[in-house]
Symmetry: C2
Subunit: 429 residues, 2 copies
């Protein structure tokens, strides 16, 4: 008889129910690779009656008492799919303390308390895997941890939020407004009724914190990430991007300069020939620049029940192999580096500026003077037809430091009647 590896599942929603489904469908293949049968033995649910049919279908014992799982010595792995910080954090900690390995897809938790949980797992010699927490179906964390150990990553650019990428695709391709695109995403189930975490870039920021940990070995806190979402993005900016040969994407960027990094989430102009430009709809992609490999990109579904559950099962297989080989207790990502943040003087980029200026003589000269004084030069300038008393001026700058740009924008605010409508980074040299 084959060895049985018993799982306790916390949460039996759409992703949760995908886990036993995949384990059963791939039983033979998993047995071949791990030498074991991985089975979901128990599931912790809020309402047993509501999940009765699922429990019966997969032969899973349902319980509303977490201790039925945590105190069961037969259960060696806990899979947490409840989301949010509490009670997930407490349950995971208790599981690790009881010597159980843990798999989770909880990005909020990992981004905010990852260091603590990883340390606990180390202390209790348990495995803690969370591949599904970033870019659902893309094995990006494993890829960074395994294959890029021989490489120096210098830049990680990610489209890591499917909801906003779907919305931006609709806004760009179909000229839908932000509001209509959001409604459509909600109707399709991509966006939640409260879309704050998605549209304000918070979800993407969680993922960039985790990616930065893997790529640079640094523990960044959410407060150290500069975050701007796509809420209220104007169709004018979208149209202008198109006209100038760019796509607008919500980009999570974690960039190394010397020994320090800068992490941000923001809508950015992406040149049409950049590999990230063609990532559309709900898809995610992570683009990596490194000294050895050069440019590489990993593309796939960022969410969805099946891709996420598949990723969770991959982690389960990894742990099963570790158990078999008696190599559990090693960190998912062992790379550690002192956390250093890049100063504004050293953050360089091209920028897109959209300004409303009084439709009077001499305004453009004023703008040019301010920019020139601040040592920020123009790559492209477009003056749009005026509407009433104001005209719209679009500037794409040459590469400049964030410090210089901020100084220029401050000056504009103080000494002109211009209104800065929007500013975005522009990818590329």
């Amino acid at each position: 008889m084959k060895e049985k590896l018993k799982i306790g599942l916390l949460g039996l929603g759409v992703v949760g129910s995908g886990v036993p489904e995949i384990l059963i469908a791939h039983q033979e293949k998993i047995r071949q690779v791990t030498g074991m049968d991985i089975v979901v033995e128990k599931a912790f649910v809020r309402d047993i009656e509501a999940k009765r049919a699922l429990g019966d279908a997969f032969n899973i014992q349902l319980t509303t008492s977490i201790n039925d799982i945590l105190d069961d010595p037969e259960i060696s792995i806990v899979v947490e799919l409840m989301g949010k910080i509490e009670p997930a954090k407490t349950y995971i900690s208790q599981a690790l303390e009881k010597g159980k390995h843990v798999v989770t897809a909880n990005k909020d938790l990992l981004a905010q308390h990852g260091g603590e949980l990883v340390a606990l797992a180390q202390k209790t010699h348990c495995d803690l895997y969370y591949e599904a927490s970033v870019a659902g179906g893309i094995p990006i964390l494993r890829t960074i941890a395994n294959s890029l150990a021989a490489d120096d990553i210098t830049n990680v650019l990610g489209i890591v939020n499917g909801t906003t990428n779907y919305m931006l695709t609709k806004m760009v391709n179909d000229a839908k407004t932000y509001e209509d695109a959001l409604k459509e995403a909600q109707a399709l189930g991509f966006a939640e009724s409260d879309p704050t975490n998605d549209v304000d870039g918070i979800d993407a920021a969680y993922k960039m914190v985790i990616l930065s940990q893997f790529a640079f070995g640094m523990n960044i806190s959410m407060e150290q990430v500069s975050v701007k979402g796509i809420r209220g993005l104007a169709l004018e900016d979208v149209a202008m991007a198109k006209q100038l040969g760019y796509e607008i994407k919500l980009i999570g960027a974690s960039q190394k300069t010397g020994e320090s990094i800068h992490v941000e989430v923001s809508p950015m102009f992406v040149p049409k020939k950049h590999p990230l430009a063609s990532v559309s709809n709900e898809y995610n992609a992570v683009f990596i620049e490194s000294s050895g490999v050069g440019e590489s990109m990993y593309y796939g579904p960022g969410a969805g029940a099946k891709p996420t559950a598949t990723s969770v099962v991959s982690d389960l297989i990894t742990i099963a192999k570790n158990i078999r080989l008696k190599t559990t207790g090693h960190m998912f990502n062992a790379y550690r580096h002192e956390t250093l943040l890049t100063s504004d003087e050293e953050i360089f980029s091209k920028y897109y500026l959209s300004l409303e200026v009084p439709d009077e003589k001499g305004q453009f000269l004023k703008l040019a003077e301010i920019m020139n004084q601040a040592d920020v030069s123009f790559d492209q300038v477009v003056q749009q037809k005026s509407e009433g008393d104001t005209a719209r001026v679009i500037v794409i700058t040459h590469r400049t430091s964030k410090k210089k740009l901020d100084a220029a924008l401050e000056k504009i605010k103080k000494s002109t009647a211009f209104t800065l409508l929007n500013t975005m980074k522009v990818l590329g040299d």
Copy 2:
């Protein structure tokens, strides 16, 4: 003092010399991850004098006698970067027999004798890794082996030859002829002076054999791969692809139907919105369809000294970890499945046909009748302006079986004065 892991390098060319370079540059990081120092101790070269400076720079003993490496009990890993079948095959076999682990980037060898070498490595409990053999800088084999164990792959589509992709990019974007594109690729060092393996699709076929082994667990021989390259691809076809909204790419396809697979390499029409369409110049990408994750794509440099050497060092790190954890001797890819080939009745696709027809009345009707009889229907038809006595007719069919298409083409050949100029698969539904 840290443990030292000594490497014997076979071949100190551009890729070979990249290996000690990366090992030295990343010494600290590698030590952190493996607990060991990995050093190239000896290198087997043809001409010691020619490589003297390199040997001195990296503190490597040079030798022209293979036994200096094979008989050295201190050397635990042999890295083969000579290419071609012999003597590489003999040296690798001898290394494995002497209990040395092996890393190679040799796709020709792996595609043609992989089964044999893997079996030998199993017998002698040695590691045999070859990530760099497919798509240089992209960790695609590891990704398939590790992360997709919980998934069923149904289709692998690869742009796995950088030379031809570079040529096709120039032909499509700059309307260069095949000959000019080839010359340019040769001048840039992407294509060898004898470009046969690249332009005739053989190199891509090697890689598809290896990818098929990983994705489907099946050992396919080169004779079982249907191979067509881009030699002599006409600018007319390239222009027509563009006009109809497609890119032409040399695609390696390994597709599963039921329990059988069909492997081929051929130029194909790729719809512009397909993720593979935007893979240009010398870049490679592997697009995977699977039941769990859905669609994913892995993009990066397909060749080049640095990406390939980085990939080799990744394999060395994997082996170093295995040695540390005493888990060597497991197969790079443990998935095995009986090899079954799909019959022509079950291979479905849309097809592009380019025909030269006499510029006379009734010719088009004749074509339509033949296709109708063969049960192949038209999706798009374009009749181009005639040149002299003949006209050019372009057909894109609806999805049809290879068997039906072949029957239609056979009929055209036999019973009409048409000339079939070209036929290509069209990706998408």
